[in-house]
């Protein structure tokens, strides 16, 4: 060990002889970065259409594949939500819809949006594209496994969509799939529908595990020279922590899926108590439906943060770049992400307050739930303090970021309501809950996705998106989303229950009818407004303004590739060497208002750049 130490000294001494001095305060070895520990990565270069674009091992192509497939699935989820809103707002128009259809659409909308859209988009899409580029790696560490990961996801989506075409249709048990009702007759899709759903989820977990291992090891073991963990963009931190959560939470989903499949197919009674169906005693007995709820929410709650943490990370970077300021409290932001991730494993039973539990149990889970508000609030303050006196560019990306902060605070505050047992019990299963989670994990992460698309599209495609269309897209979405979800809080307060096909002659009808019509109209407009983005992308791909290198004047590595869009292997012959964090914006004394991560210290010796 002492020998290693000496070697270190000699290398520094050698480099001090060869490096010529810079400005004031520069010692000759200022720019020294340790040599590479790991040999350069051996890559398989595709040579045909199939190996380049279909079964491709380039993380960037895989990222785009994930993005496109998740978006396609998301559009199906959007159409399902339209059908639901049509029924709720204008039941006379939706006469073709039965109650069974409605439950099936609710279920598929929820599952698609949470798992197959948001999770796949953030981790599979942004994770694949950005992690290697932002950490300075050539590719993911196991490109082949990464490719298989996407195709497993493809099969999972295929199985999921196949359930629309089997006898009985897709499952209609709600996205939580609670037994016993999910596998008993009378629930729509209790035959093949639920089986295909469970198989699809299992395939998704297997596929995701393959991808997730790639993301984790790339971040941990394949960073470029000079890239320490605390010099990584927060985007990478968010995706990394979310992946850790996924690796530990998806097992519970896999196990509960396997057990429920066996309950359905083989007639085991893991989750099934002694139960009557249409007046007949079934063969089931002795199982525990609550066990399923525990397993499901041990997955389900971290899942919320699997979606939220990448959004937190990405929005931090977007805000920093577009307000030309370093992110306020970078280390705090990192630790907040990690702490939120860790806490998310200790709050799952707050989804089960009305399932029946010991009061002390509820007390415990309410406490842990409210503690999460601390690191989360800290992040919100830091975003606002980053904007504070920044040189803010009021472009589309920034609008989405601001929209995110507003919706996230809104959804977060209602979360504090619902985290308390005593408040949750009357609000449980009302539209207040629907409003809460759509705000906090639907609209808020979606705002970040949109911001990220406008931010990174120039990198992926080499052309800029239209700002004008982008602003229309934002205002329609932002105001429209508020028109949808803000009134829903009120619906919850007056006691309108969620998941109901219609209200019949209950007293709610009179006061909720017009509001429901308004919400539905807004939902149609917001949904349609999303096609502005698709139009924008298609047009910009053809005639968009060429982006050139680093159009946003950003610091992080993904903008510093030799070719734009980056090619396979990302960095040409030489890997980048990192000397600083990615947040040196508007540094006093610097020539420009940004100092890319690869700029050596000797070049900016006279500035007040952060020592990172």
């Amino acid at each position: 060990m002492s020998e290693d130490f000496n070697d270190n000294k000699t290398i520094q001494a050698q480099s001090s002889e060869t490096t010529s001095g810079g400005g004031a305060g520069v010692t000759p070895d200022t720019d020294y970065v340790r040599p590479a520990e790991v040999a350069d990565q051996d890559l398989y270069h595709g040579h045909s259409f199939i190996t380049k674009w279909v079964f491709c091992q380039d993380a960037k192509v895989i990222g785009v594949q994930y993005f496109l497939l998740a978006t396609f699935t998301g559009i199906i989820g959007l159409i399902l939500s339209w059908l639901m809103r049509l029924q709720l707002g204008f039941p006379e128009v939706a006469s073709f819809m039965t109650a069974e259809h409605y439950y099936q659409f609710v279920t598929m909308h929820g599952m698609i949006m949470v798992v197959y859209f948001l999770t796949a988009l953030f981790l599979g899409g942004f994770g694949n594209y950005l992690i290697p580029l932002m950490t300075g790696a050539r590719d993911m560490v196991f490109p082949y496994v990464n490719m298989v990961s996407f195709w497993m996801f493809f099969i999972a989506v295929g199985v999921l969509l196949a359930s629309f075409f089997v006898p009985g249709g897709p499952t209609g048990s709600g996205w939580t799939l609670y037994p016993p009702q999910s596998i008993l007759e009378g629930t729509p899709g209790s035959g093949m529908g639920i089986i295909l759903m469970l198989i699809s989820l299992s395939l998704f977990v297997i596929g995701f595990t393959m991808g997730g291992l790639n993301y984790l090891i790339t971040v941990l073991q394949a960073r470029t020279r000079g890239m320490t963990l605390m010099r990584m963009p927060l985007t990478v931190w968010g995706i990394f922590t979310a992946t850790v959560l996924a690796m530990l939470a998806f097992p519970a989903l896999l196990v509960s899926s396997i057990m429920m499949t066996l309950d359905k197919i083989l007639g085991t009674s893991f989750f099934m108590p002694t139960i009557l169906q249409a007046g007949e005693v079934l063969e089931y007995g002795g199982g525990s439906p609550i066990l399923f709820q525990h397993l499901f929410w041990f997955f389900g709650h971290p899942e919320v943060y699997i979606v939220a943490l990448p959004a937190f990370g990405i929005v931090s970077d977007l805000i920093s770049v577009h307000s030309r300021k370093n992110i306020f409290g970078y280390r705090m932001m990192v630790w907040a992400i990690v702490v939120i991730g860790a806490l998310s494993f200790f709050v799952w039973a707050h989804h089960m307050y009305v399932s029946g539990m010991h009061p002390w149990f509820g007390f415990f889970f309410a406490t842990t739930t409210l503690i999460i508000a601390v690191p989360t609030a800290l992040k919100v303050y830091n975003w606002i303090l980053t904007l504070w006196r920044g040189n803010i560019r009021m472009n589309t990306v920034m609008l989405w970021c601001l929209g995110f902060i507003v919706t996230f605070v809104n959804g977060g505050i209602t979360g504090i309501f619902l985290g308390n047992v005593i408040v949750d019990v009357p609000l449980s299963d009302t539209y207040f809950v629907v409003a809460h989670f759509h705000m906090v994990m639907g609209i808020a992460p979606l705002m970040v996705i949109m911001g990220a698309v406008y931010h990174w599209f120039p990198l992926v495609a080499g052309r800029m998106l239209s700002e004008k269309l982008g602003k229309w897209h934002f205002w329609f979405t932002f105001l429209g989303a508020y028109s949808i979800y803000f009134p829903m809080h009120y619906l919850g307060f007056i006691g309108v229950p969620r998941r109901y096909f219609e209200m019949y002659d209950s007293p709610y009808v009179t006061s909720a009818v017009e509001l429901n019509q308004f919400i539905s109209t807004a939902a149609f407009i917001v949904g349609a407004a999303q096609f502005i983005l698709i139009y924008n992308i298609i047009v910009s791909l053809r005639i968009g303004k060429p982006a050139g290198k680093n159009p946003w004047k950003a610091n992080s590595l993904e903008w510093l590739t030799p070719a734009v869009p980056p090619e396979h292997g990302n960095w040409g012959d030489k890997l980048p060497v990192v000397h600083r964090w990615p947040y040196d914006y508007s540094v006093p004394g610097a020539k420009e208002d940004f100092i890319p991560q690869t700029t050596p210290p000797s070049e900016v010796a006279d500035t007040e750049a952060e020592k990172t």
Binding site: M1, D4, E37, F142, Y144, Q221, L229, G267, T268, F298
Partner: protein, 236 residues
């Protein structure tokens, strides 16, 4: 194990060293092969899978109203008319643990670049795994013959059959996958792919004897899980 030599990097012992490695650039686990780090994290995830299974089992067994079958009777084997409790399981466990030993030796010979010893020991490990799966199949067929099914069993609580077949089945799947991979890697080792640098058929990447150690990690994990299943099903 000695620290690997890394140019320009100084190792420190204890927690300080851990903090130093974590805050350094490039890698967090210094000198650790990518695949090895990947296997450790995969095993952590797999641990959660088996934990979920076993916790569900504890919950199911703890809350059953029908009596749980007595494992010493259910799993007993008749030898010359005398029921010997846990005999088959003892042999199965012995075989599996022994195969862990041969795997550890294979890793050692792999790092010594002793191609033949390494390859044959991996093959021995695969045979051990195959014997285990075979005996498990025998045990399953015996129980099925006696009327135990995933949805019912003549000895008591129906959940006994459900959990037993599901969890040993899931573990047996792990062993079977392990046997398949052991066979592939035994072939790769004996054919000298690690010495000639022949590229893999699927991934078209060059192999290395580290892969034997990674495979070994998986195999030892499968053994360790068996110890827990053994304790929870046969000794409880």
């Amino acid at each position: 194990m000695a620290d690997p030599k890394i140019e320009g990097y100084e190792f420190k012992p204890g927690y300080k060293g851990m903090a130093r490695d974590t805050s350094s650039d490039q890698t967090m686990f210094k000198g650790v092969h990518w695949g090895k780090a990947m296997m450790w994290i995969f095993l952590l995830s797999d641990t959660f899978i088996f934990s979920c299974f076993l916790i569900s089992y504890m919950k199911g067994r703890g809350s059953t109203t029908v009596e749980w079958p007595n494992p010493s009777e259910v799993f007993a084997l008749n030898v010359g008319g005398v029921p010997v409790p846990l005999l088959l399981i003892a042999i199965m466990t012995f075989v599996l643990i022994t195969s862990s030993g041969t795997m550890a030796l294979a890793v050692k010979y792999g790092y010594e670049r002793n191609r033949k010893m390494c390859g044959w020991l991996i093959l021995a490990t695969a045979l051990g795994g195959l014997t285990f799966v075979g005996m498990q199949a025998f045990e399953w067929s015996k129980l099925i013959h006696e009327g135990v099914r995933p949805w019912t069993n003549p000895f008591g609580a129906p959940q006994f059959g459900s959990f037993f077949f599901m969890i040993t089945g899931f573990h047996g799947t792990h062993v079977s996958i392990g046997v398949i991979f052991l066979s592939i890697y035994a072939y790769k080792t004996l054919a000298g792919h690690y010495d000639t640098g022949k590229r893999g058929w699927f991934t078209s990447m060059k192999g290395n004897y580290v892969e034997i150690e990674i495979l070994g990690l998986y195999w030892h994990f499968v053994d360790l899980v068996w110890v827990f299943i053994f304790a929870f099903f046969y000794l409880w």
